[in-house]
Symmetry: C2
Subunit: 151 residues, 2 copies
């Protein structure tokens, strides 16, 4: 989804298009890494010096509500957001550069049915996330201990 798409969704849902919102949308839409509100603020401020951190929080809240972004849970913390995909997708996160790659996990259906049968649970939702090193980070220095995204 492009920046224009996101802006249209905001507008179609009754939200006004302001410079502040445009700034946040541009930064987050463009990122292939999950970003915290503070990171978005710092990044957006170079082009929009008047932007306030509060507005970043409020804009992220609306983008999440409209399912344009989603919160990313990691061992090191759960405050970061990344642009969402249509439908249910799983995430693969690079522990060194933070890159997020989506993948489909249809193979899970059997597992889930199986667990539901065994446990008696009625399963409504699932989370699957894989952590590792992306091809680039892995080949650049495969033996280095990843530090960036570890607690």
């Amino acid at each position: 989804m492009t920046v224009e798409n996101w802006l249209k969704v905001l507008s179609d849902n009754g939200y006004r298009l302001t410079d502040s919102r445009r700034a946040v949308v541009e930064i987050v839409n463009d990122s292939s890494r999950a970003m915290t509100p503070l990171e978005v603020f710092d990044s957006a401020r170079s082009s929009h010096p008047e932007l306030g951190l509060v507005t970043v929080y409020r804009t992220l809240e609306k983008l999440e509500e409209l399912h344009l972004i989603q919160r990313v849970h990691q061992p090191a913390g759960c405050q970061a957001f990344i642009s969402a995909r249509q439908g249910h997708q799983h995430m693969l996160l690079c522990q060194r550069c933070g890159q997020v790659t989506y993948f489909e996990g249809d193979d899970l259906d059997n597992l889930i049915t199986n667990i539901a049968d065994k446990t008696g649970y009625s399963i409504k939702e699932h989370w699957l996330q894989l952590f590792g090193l992306c091809a680039k980070c892995h080949s650049s220095n495969p033996n280095q201990v990843p530090g960036l995204f570890h607690s």
Copy 2:
């Protein structure tokens, strides 16, 4: 693992056994739900009125460091802890009563290998969590919207 096991691990790792630590250990070890530091504090205080919240935080920190407990990530928040299992296990959480059930997910190996091949990632770690209603909560009122653990 019993309360005594946990206390022995603490002691074996050079930590002293105090009334405050015993209080926290007893509460958390006994719970089948994930509990936040504040919940542990409130619960432990009935038997140990002198206990401070700060000590709860510090004790949970040590229990986590010793892998006796682990942090539970949920849509509604990631501040709660539950007793850990040996080896890698996955969690099934009841969205109504909060009950946590562990299960093994060996079936994931194929999926993970497959994704690694497709994406070029070297996968180091994975998280799989299922959310739903446990048999008891489901049968008691299957149509009620679960509220407790939703964001």
